[in-house]
């Protein structure tokens, strides 16, 4: 299920998960890493061949030292699509990956066949400041990420193995994820996406969690206003919908993809 590829020219390694069957769909994970969107990836895999790369700096994917902007990240993704042999891409992403997917769709318009952005970062509204996911203690972070901090999804996100080596590995994985995310999102995630969103030409679905305490309703309405003609769906979840409501989220994405390709 996990594959490694080498990007020609740079020699960078890309680790990706390929799972399921059907029309290919590329999935870009959120700030905390691919492991926290696997329930959604598996749900999507019932109807799609999901190709989910670890973004640079995550998993075994390297090259982060030379990724200084979302522009660099879009070019990286374009190289990845070449390597996995996808010509026109159905692209979906969550949170950090949602911003990355939107950036790609605004830049590589002809190659983007469809965009699904789930609770995407990338904007900043003074009237609705985003909580600082990099500056919260674990308990406070859980309370903003999840609709219900006592839910199974939240428990899984915070679970600690009794085995010390496994526990340390999980701590390092979390740290590695945030190091990579902070490289592009620090100190605020507004890196100019608002100047580019109007360029998105592919059919676009924006998915928001009904109880999202990070990208709440102000972000939903601003994003919709900037991506003209975008469809919108709401799922019963907080910000971490790939963990909190994987089946419902997969359903809205699949339905949108089916309608767009019909």
């Amino acid at each position: 299920m996990s594959e490694r590829h080498t990007l020609p020219g740079r020699g960078w390694t890309v680790e990706l998960v390929r799972v399921g069957s059907g029309a290919p769909l590329v999935w870009l994970h959120g700030a905390f890493g691919l492991e926290w969107s696997m329930p959604l990836v598996e749900a999507l895999a019932r109807h799609h061949t999901v190709i989910a790369p670890h973004l640079p700096g995550y998993g075994a994917s390297d090259g982060l030292d030379d990724i200084d902007s979302f522009y660099d990240l879009s070019v990286w993704l374009d190289d990845v699509l070449d390597v996995v042999g996808i010509d026109r891409v159905m692209l979906a992403g969550h949170d950090f990956g949602g911003a990355a997917a939107a950036e790609y769709a605004a830049l590589f318009r002809r190659r983007t066949q469809l965009l699904a952005a789930l609770a995407p970062l990338g904007l900043w509204l003074d009237e609705a400041p985003l909580p600082d996911i990099f500056g919260l203690t674990p308990g406070a972070l859980t309370r903003v990420l999840f609709a219900d901090a006592q839910s199974e999804a939240a428990a899984a996100f915070n679970s600690q193995s009794p085995d010390k080596a496994e526990r340390n590995a999980a701590i390092l994985r979390r740290r590695q994820a945030l190091i990579a995310a902070a490289k592009l999102l620090w100190p605020l995630p507004d890196k100019g996406l608002k100047k580019r969103l109007h360029r998105i030409a592919a059919p676009t679905l924006l998915v928001w969690g009904a109880q999202d305490r990070i990208t709440g309703s102000a972000y939903a309405s601003t994003f919709s206003a900037l991506v003209v003609g975008a469809s919108t769906a709401t799922v019963p979840a907080g910000h971490m919908m790939p963990l909190e409501a994987p089946a419902e989220t997969a359903d809205v994405v699949r339905a949108f993809a089916a309608k767009a390709s019909a």
Binding site: G135, I171, I179, A180, A182
Partner: protein
């Protein structure tokens, strides 16, 4: 052995129930807790204390940089150093230091330090800290992942700007300048001594050892816990075949002097307790941004079980036992400081003689007793074997400031 009086400049009027009412003394400390009129009082008292230290026998006076911090009122240590340079004559001005990655372009530091060195007649020590995560990442918005690379690049630019007299271009990853031209230049050639205040990271030991910079371990946790970090530095030097010159090391220590243990405890204990209980109250989310330490450093920390030197004790008695505070009669303090110097093998000691909410009179008295009853007894340490290559070399015949004008019509 050189002694510096080191001032943090705490805001000593925080409410008594600060830790219960507010999440953090740093980064998001509420602005309305700062009373500018108290600021006027504190800055002037604290500069009086620094000048007093120069008068009573300290070799250097030391200031540092913090941002949005309730126990450090010096976002710009250079302003304080500039004021001190005109009110002192031969004491070293140890600016420990300027957080290089925060200045755009970092050439600004080369210029300001050169100004300070000129004004003071060559008395400047140039400190280049990376800066804490609270200061650099949270208060000043620097990307944690690239902070260290930006810092190293900035130090390189500063040193080159001081060394070279030609106008050159600098094509860095973080700073691009078509014309680099540091005007003025420092008095000390090729540049003032470079001190690197650091925590316990392996990278800093290597950096100091490779470049012949002084390594100063900065923490508030006392010399017993600091030993492992200085040892790491000395071992690094030894591996490179370089001498273990104590003058290449520095350390910082809380010190209090009185006539008896009981008197010292009564006089100074509450202020030390205030410092640790109030001002070390930092919100957990701000302690370390992702990328502030590399994954490798974190991994090594896990493997070696090396605890970051966080203070845990809260009472005076615990602080004395753990070595966090060295306190007692002048004789006893002298013995312990000698033990500290020999244990850590350090030739420069920053003495925190005002701490917490210690009022002005008490601080002045403590500074005076340390300067006159302790420092002279220890100054000879190391001098028979080692030369201090990391101390300022002032020019001869420097122009000195005139006696202070009292201004506004009063007698000078």
């Amino acid at each position: 052995m050189k002694f510096m009086f080191f001032h943090l400049m705490p805001y000593r009027f925080l409410p008594m129930d600060f830790p219960q009412r507010f999440p953090s003394v740093w980064v998001d400390i509420p602005g309305d807790l700062f009373d500018p009129a108290k600021g006027n009082q504190l800055y002037n008292e604290y500069m009086d204390q620094l000048e007093h230290a120069a008068d009573v026998g300290f070799d250097g006076i030391c200031v540092n940089e913090h941002h949005a911090n309730g126990y450090g009122l010096m976002p710009s240590p250079n302003l304080i150093a500039a004021a001190l340079s005109r009110r002192t004559r031969d004491v070293a001005l140890v600016v420990l230091g300027n957080s290089v990655a925060l200045y755009n372009p970092p050439l600004r530091i080369a210029e300001e330090f050169a100004m300070l060195d000129c004004i003071s007649g060559g008395r400047l020590v140039a400190g280049f800290p990376v800066g804490t995560s609270m200061d650099t990442n949270y208060a000043y918005g620097q990307v944690p992942t690239t902070l260290r690379d930006k810092y190293y690049e900035g130090v390189k630019l500063i040193l080159e700007a001081w060394r070279r007299n030609d106008v050159f271009s600098f094509n860095g990853r973080f700073t691009q300048l078509r014309y680099v031209n540091c005007w003025p230049k420092p008095i000390q050639k090729p540049h003032p001594p470079i001190w690197i205040p650091g925590g316990g990271s392996v990278e800093t030991w290597d950096y100091c050892a490779e470049n012949d910079f002084l390594y100063s371990y900065l923490s508030f946790s006392g010399y017993k816990r600091g030993k492992v970090f200085l040892d790491g530095f000395w071992d690094t030097l030894e591996r490179m075949g370089k001498p273990r010159n104590p003058y290449q090391g520095g350390f910082v220590q809380f010190v209090a002097v009185g006539d008896s243990d009981d008197e010292v405890a009564e006089k100074f204990g509450p202020h030390a307790e205030w410092f640790f209980n109030k001002t070390q109250h930092v919100y957990g989310g701000f302690v370390e941004a992702p990328g502030y330490r590399t994954l490798n450093t974190i991994k090594m920390g896990m493997e070696s079980q090396q605890k970051s030197a966080r203070i845990i004790e809260t009472t005076w008695q615990e602080m004395i036992e753990s070595g966090t505070v060295i306190a007692g009669t002048p004789k006893r303090v002298t013995e312990q400081l000698e033990e500290l110097a020999r244990t850590l093998n350090v030739g420069h000691l920053g003495v925190l003689a005002q701490f917490g909410d210690m009022p002005h009179d008490k601080a002045m008295a403590n500074i005076q007793r340390i300067g006159t009853e302790v420092v002279p007894k220890l100054r000879h340490l190391w001098d028979d074997t080692w030369t201090d290559h990391w101390w300022p070399r002032p020019m001869s015949g420097a122009r000195l400031p005139k006696p202070v004008s009292r201004g506004l019509g009063s007698a000078a």
